[in-house]
Symmetry: C2
Subunit: 224 residues, 2 copies
């Protein structure tokens, strides 16, 4: 029944640091499975193999517990992205590619983490909402920076500005979000493959647009 501690006899004593991580581990899976509200602290405590007051002693409240989960997983995700982007090479598109690739790989590998980060954001307190917003902003800024570098490096010069880079970053991040759903319906697809498709969709278009190609809606041929 219990996960940590011996199944029989006395519970093993564990130092706080370690216990906290165990609790958070369990909490992430439970929050992912049930959602924030449907998850009960009792269940988390039981699965973690300890009693409820421990959770409150270490994490303060249900919200504090969730926040701890959020922060840990968000840090991991952002770190994965940033690390890959930095190691990805000099050219911005290579760094962007590496970052996206790391993102999709992370999601594939840590489903529960992603569910918690992705689908539990809203309807929670100020503190939680802003923690999620911060993480998203961090990634957004990173992406916008790469897009901007890409623009700057390209021939045409200042035809696009900060606002455009931000726009593209939002579109990209949103697309990546949504493609995690697509991935779960196509288990055969590797994160790398998904990344490549997305880069092709976006980067090629951006290059063309920078070269002056513009799409505008043609006049209706049949204006009823």
């Amino acid at each position: 029944m219990t996960v940590n501690g011996r199944t029989e006899g006395r519970r093993r004593r564990v130092p706080r640091q370690e216990r906290e991580q165990q609790i958070i581990d369990v909490a992430v899976t439970v929050f992912a499975k049930r959602g924030y509200h449907a998850a009960s602290v009792d269940e988390i405590a039981e699965l973690a193999g300890i009693s409820k007051p421990m959770v409150y002693l270490y994490l303060d409240s249900k919200e504090g517990l969730f926040l701890a989960c959020l922060r840990r997983e968000a840090d991991r995700l952002v770190a994965a992205f940033q690390g890959a982007a930095q190691a990805g090479g000099g050219a911005p598109e290579l760094r962007l590619h590496a970052g996206l690739s790391a993102f999709f790989a992370f999601v594939a590998e840590h489903r529960d983490s992603w569910v918690v980060l992705h689908r539990q954001a809203s309807e929670l307190s100020e503190a939680i909402a802003s923690a999620v917003a911060d993480a998203r902003r961090a990634v957004m800024a990173q992406v916008a920076g790469l897009v901007w570098d890409g623009i700057a490096e390209s021939a045409g010069g200042a035809r696009l500005d900060d606002e455009d880079a931000d726009f593209v970053a939002h579109a990209l991040v949103g697309a990546a979000d949504s493609l995690t759903d697509w991935m779960s319906g196509h288990p055969g697809q590797s994160p790398e493959g998904v990344t490549l498709r997305l880069m092709n969709m976006v980067w090629v278009g951006m290059g063309r647009v920078l070269e002056g190609e513009v799409w505008v809606p043609a006049e209706r041929s049949d204006p009823t």
Copy 2:
């Protein structure tokens, strides 16, 4: 204090149909503001100017109430998209453009509806989750169809298939989702402007890719 019914004296009697819509109207704003769980049926009833048992009589349960909100707003949104796409003209990219434009306009105009649809999806019961998923699928299919038509119409022929169209649709819908956030940070931008930028990002790139242009990550110049 009350919104419907006279403030003084007896409450006005109202036929069921109308009352239901009033309740749903209020519920949408409350759910949008507080989130599903934090919203209480008592508050909704009070703001609607009636007593709680009415809500249960007409809508069955809190979940039923939420479901009614969801369905109504989802229908409106999907209808807006489809209507615009159908009226948008013959060429797929024009229909897609019209649909996206209608979407951004809808979100700009019905903030609460969008919040309910967008941010309250998860962590709810089977029934609710699948209602949201259905609506998204409907839009997704619509978009994928247009993308597919766009591919078919283009020169090269069958270099892309159903799966690709679905991929692009996911990316597009996700990008649109996320751009609603961008819009709220840029109140000056018109829905039409946002649509145009997005189309340029995606459609131009797609066209180029169809013509055989491919982006692949260059070999690292400095493979550490």
